[in-house]
């Protein structure tokens, strides 16, 4: 733990970065706040609306449907990806050539542009053309068409996300695991601990820090997800896979309804901020221990 000296001159170091980020963060947000309390009929004429838009959003069924879909989606994602990531990290090799091979191959999905991920799964899951679609329809004899069936669309979106992002959890957990000194496993061996005890009392506690980061990142990123499901399903069929960001963009850029879009943005942002504040405190408390 390094001793920090109190010196407000440090602001000089921070200032350039602060200006750059603030430019990107504060000005747009101010714009959004501006729109959220005004109404426009074009021609740059604005009328004060107060909290009307907020009321509309908070009372809108459409918003709640999207919010509900989003929470369901994020919930399923976390329930699948976190345990799966831990399990894979536990079985990965710790030394030898296998380590590099595993790490490189597992990282590849993480570096594919998100629209390519969507397009790839689109091609992959098409009922008669894609391998997955063909296999499910013809080899498993299940009627599967993600462009027409909401359940299939959800299934494909989730499978795509698991394919795309589980590796992040794996890599984080793996980093936590390999930092555990051998002596802990040796002591557990001598104490006669079963594999489950080793996991519960040695591996899991030592992974706490990285797991918190993993859960935070996966929650945030899946809550804000836009590109992959949009390219895959366009939000459909109907609006069955219209998650929060997709809905917001539809309203803002599609329908150009600035007021409601802005209000919705702020509510959205507030939810995200609240959850990240909770997680941030959790992480800082972990680091202090």
């Amino acid at each position: 733990m390094s001793k920090k000296t109190l010196d407000n001159k440090a602001w000089l170091f921070v200032l350039p970065m602060f200006i750059l980020v603030a430019f990107n963060a504060v000005i747009p947000l101010m714009t959004v706040v501006n729109y959220s309390v005004q109404e426009t009929f074009g021609n740059n004429l604005f009328f004060w609306q107060g909290i009307d838009w907020f009321e509309k959003v908070v009372n809108s069924e459409r918003f709640y449907n999207a919010l509900g879909r989003q929470f369901l989606y994020t919930g399923i994602i976390l329930v699948i990806e976190i345990p799966l990531g831990i399990a894979i990290a536990l079985t990965m090799p710790k030394k030898g050539i296998g380590v590099s091979i595993c790490l490189v191959l597992m990282s590849i999905p993480l570096l594919i542009p998100w629209n390519v991920v969507g397009a790839m799964w689109n091609i992959f899951a098409l009922p008669d053309i894609g391998l997955l679609g063909y296999a499910i329809n013809n080899w498993l004899n299940i009627d599967y068409n993600f462009t027409q069936q909401p359940f299939s669309a959800w299934f494909t979106c989730i499978l795509m996300d698991v394919w795309h992002w589980t590796s992040l959890v794996v890599l984080l957990c793996y980093a936590g695991l390999i930092s555990i000194p051998d002596a802990y496993y040796q002591a557990a061996n001598i104490d006669g601990a079963k594999p489950w005890s080793v996991f519960r009392y040695i591996q899991l506690p030592k992974m706490k820090k990285v797991l918190t980061i993993a859960i935070l990142l996966r929650f945030m990123d899946s809550f804000m997800i836009y590109t992959e499901p949009f390219v895959l399903t366009g939000g459909g069929p109907g609006n069955s896979t219209t998650f929060l960001s997709i809905d917001l963009v539809k309203v803002a850029l599609g329908e150009f309804d600035l007021g409601p879009a802005a209000a919705m943005s702020l509510v959205y942002f507030l939810i995200v901020l609240l959850v990240s504040w909770v997680f941030y405190n959790l992480m800082m408390r972990n680091e202090e221990n």
Partner: protein
Amino acid sequence: MAKVKLDNLNHSYVPNPNPEDYVLKNINIEWNDGGAYALLGPSGCGKTTILNIISGLINPTSGSILFDDKDVTNLSPLDRNIGQVFQFPVIYDTMTVYDNLAFPLKNRGFDSSYIDKKVKEIAEILELSSTLQNRASGLTADGKQKISLGRGLVRSDVNVLMFDEPLTVIDPLLKWQLRSKLKELHHEFKNTMIYVTHDQTEALTFADQVVVMYEGVIVQIGTPTELFETPKHTFVGHFIGSPGMNILPCDVSDQNVTCFNHQIKTSSDLKNIQSNSKLEIGVRPEFIKFSSTGLPAEVKNVSDIGRYKVVECLVSDQKIKVIVNEGEEVTTDRANLEFNSNYTKIYQDSWMVS
């Protein structure tokens, strides 16, 4: 508790090793039941390897380990019934101190009343009773090492207790306290304890018998006194003692030992000396006196340690250290050094001739 025997142990970390790949060569040791032993040597000499072979964490390339004459070479650490304390505290952070100590017994299926009795008993001895319900992660380093120790002691059928440089992360004052506690435990329980260290003070104060190792080979086994007074290898001579033994080149002809053209009297038997071997004299600084006769030397430096002084002398280009007790005079400039012949030994190719 058991007696431990290492029979012809050889070990290499690489498969299909060449002779120079072996980190342990021809190790033969027999340790009695209930003794306190130390494995002393510099880093990399193989002592931690031996420890891990005894505990079963490593399988030796060849040779066997016996507990009470039973071959345990192929048994797992669990089945060997040993306890090991590592260099840094290894505890189960999420458990309380009580649960940490109870863990080995729980895994072996003892019933809770027995476990409770044993845990409280060991906690009392280790002075951990007041912290039993605290989270183990909150204890200081020495407290955590005591927990590690406790997990070994709590099993009454434990064969050997092993320590791998356990005081490395402990503060100096607490180091002394823990050392005393270990001796106390040994005195009361008569466990077979094997203590690995590179610190001669720890080894010599803890053990009844010390095994000194150097580059994978045992150079001497003996009591601390034996190691000090009759070191069988020049390495033992200069590793033990502070400062270590003086090693000087010498010549032997016709039963006479000459060192820098000065005749030296020794207690070694000179019968079997080969003329083309490397011959050296070994004598500890404690056994050299300044006198009127003896090897002429130039006094270069005097360090005052407090209870004694270390005088560094030069004979041609060879440094010799002499210990002079507090209060005694030290001649400046030139002096003559007289060696105590009882403690002056001859070494042939680094091994003592006898």
